[in-house]
């Protein structure tokens, strides 16, 4: 059944979670994602699912840790200061291989920062901000509809790889209202969560389950020592990287200049591409949908063909680092950054006209 509605990105998070089989939401209020929390408070209990307001973001993520260990599909949502507080236990989730979904509606940083949009948490999302060099799968929607769709994918991938998955939104994507068609997307079958804690007698083999975020410290199965666990986890990260790359290439074929952007600035960039094309300029866009794994290869290929790049990012330049890694010094890379914001209200936003200006400079 498809339902058509007109909702915010923050509400689309809720609808996507609902249709994606999410069973519980644990979260703490923070601007600009309060509508997410409020959506779950309103919609979940009456559907017999769990909504619980936590006492802090540290609590939220540890609630996810516990609920995920029970085999449930669970999520939280936060913005940048709360994201910082979650880092220790996101690392624990990665180590214990507990699937969970974290929606990060980025706001201006650092510190308490602004309470409005930005894209300043790219590195901590893609590299993990906690101890130990783990990996989050990171999905970056570009619209209200895609927010809904990627929410569903996020639960699927989290379960498939038993790994935390981050949906990377921002204050603008969270606030914008667009039309949305809701329905459950089928990504295929998944294995039973036989590893989950149900109470020993409910386990298939009647044996106890023990879940730990320090495998290898005590000589316990399935990883009797630290190196055996690391070997396993490294292999898993490689599999995720190989199998889960997603991006959109928009008018990128044969372009002289390619814009690279995710989230709200990818929309702005698309408009700028259209403006450029209208003027006969050969400009395209690569929009990473997974920002980890990152589409290094396609960017590298384009760079090899002699194309220039323009990163459009509402930060001082973080996605930029990944584009640099991909381009390997083989092409010029421009940046439209947070300092290029425009519009009198709200500390500004990056506008299509400003991007187009830069496009013209580079060509």
């Amino acid at each position: 059944m498809v339902e058509r509605m007109f909702v915010q990105g923050n509400e689309a998070v809720g609808w996507g979670a609902l249709y994606g089989g999410c069973e519980a939401f644990f979260g703490y209020p923070i601007t600009p994602q309060n509508e997410v929390t409020q959506w779950f408070a309103r919609e979940f209990p009456e559907r017999g699912r769990v909504f619980l307001q936590s006492q802090s973001e540290v609590a939220s993520i540890n609630m996810l840790y516990g609920a995920a260990a029970g085999g449930f599909r669970v999520m939280t949502s936060t913005s940048s200061p709360g994201w910082g507080l979650m880092q220790e236990t996101i690392s624990h989730c990665a180590a214990a291989e507990l699937p969970c979904v974290i929606v990060l509606v980025q706001r201006g940083g650092s510190g308490a920062g602004s309470i409005r949009h930005s894209q300043m948490d790219y590195i901590t999302a893609t590299r993990g901000g906690g101890g130990g060099g783990y990996k989050n799968i990171v999905l970056a929607p570009g619209s209200v509809q895609e927010t809904h769709d990627l929410m569903q994918l996020s639960f699927y991938l989290a379960d498939k790889y038993r790994n935390p998955t981050v949906v990377l939104s921002d204050g603008i994507l969270g606030q914008v209202q667009e039309s949305l068609e809701t329905k459950t997307i089928d990504f295929g079958p998944l294995e039973d969560k036989d590893w989950a804690l149900k109470g020993r007698d409910k386990n298939k083999d009647g044996k106890r389950r023990l879940i730990n975020s320090a495998y290898g410290v005590l000589p316990l199965p399935p990883y009797p020592n630290y190196i055996s666990w690391l070997t396993h986890i490294k292999k898993k990260y490689q599999e995720m990287e190989d199998a889960e790359l997603r991006y959109e290439a928009y008018k990128a074929e044969g372009a002289d200049l390619i814009l690279v952007a995710y989230g709200y600035t990818s929309r702005v960039s698309k408009e700028a591409v259209n403006m450029a094309r209208a003027k006969g300029l050969n400009v395209g866009l690569i929009r990473p949908i997974t920002v980890w794994p990152f589409p290094y290869e396609i960017i590298k290929e384009k760079a090899a063909l002699g194309c220039k790049f323009l990163v459009v990012e509402d930060s001082l330049g973080l996605l930029l680092e990944d584009v640099k890694i991909a381009v390997q010094g083989r092409a010029e890379i421009g940046l439209v950054s947070i300092l290029d914001r425009h519009i009198p209200t709200d500390g500004g936003m990056i506008m299509p006209g400003r991007v187009f200006e830069e496009v013209q400079k580079l060509l």
């Binding site: 069973e23 519980a24 644990f26 769990v50 619980l52 936590s54 006492q55 802090s56 540290v58 609590a59 540890n62 609630m63 996810l64 840790y65 516990g66 609920a67 260990a69 029970g70 449930f72 669970v74 220790e88 236990t89 624990h92 214990a96 804690l197 149900k198 109470g199 020993r200 007698d201 409910k202 386990n203 106890r208 389950r209 023990l210 879940i211 730990n212 975020s213 320090a214 005590l218 316990l220």
Partner: protein, 252 residues
Amino acid sequence: MAKKMVTGNPAIWIDPPGAAMYCPGCQHPVVHRVIADVIEEMGIDGEVICMLGVGCHAFVQVAWNIDMLSCAHGRALDSGTALKRLKPEAIVFTVQGDGDCIAIGAGAFVAAMTRAEKITTIMYNNTNYGTTGGQLAPTTLLGQKTTTTPRGRDASVEGYPAHTAELAATFRGTVYSARGSVHTPANYQRTKKYIKTAFQKQIDGAGYSFVEVLVACPPNWHLPPVECLDRIENELIVEFPLGEFKNEDKII
């Protein structure tokens, strides 16, 4: 004449030599046994789910034959809360050290009691951070020397020993709070009764239940094991009286 075993390894024990990881005279494994006894007697070993904190108690993961989750330091109550909300039929309990519960875990502790979570906590109070080498805990006695209070705990610097069981009793969401010890056979039995009652409160859906247990930590008390028992008798229970602080059938 035939022989029947009276005291051996609890049936829910996978690996009793796990106790080999404890220092000579450590009373953690004694409390592990008490809990195992209770779980066995209540016949709930197939239904309990244990949330481990971080501390010496967590070595019990090699031992109990029940489902267990090793949680982030101080956060077992958050994780347990979530699991219980999703599995109200499970019997969820946290085991935590004193530092885990009332230092780094105080936020989770206060919140769980405020929300009146239907779960149970057993806190091992050894008046220090054993695992990391014997530092000050909120429960450290005045004057007690630890590696971070080499001159003894000084009230004007580190404040006063935290009374966790009494604190728990002040919360409306708490229906049961007690403090036991295992420094004599009689107290062993009393503690067993406290823990059983605490589980029963959860099974009855009454509210949050809490049991603190005093345990000896010979290396960090710098005392031979048997003298640790005397310290419990002569010093600890003066500061931390034993008994039930709250026992209600429902939240009132």
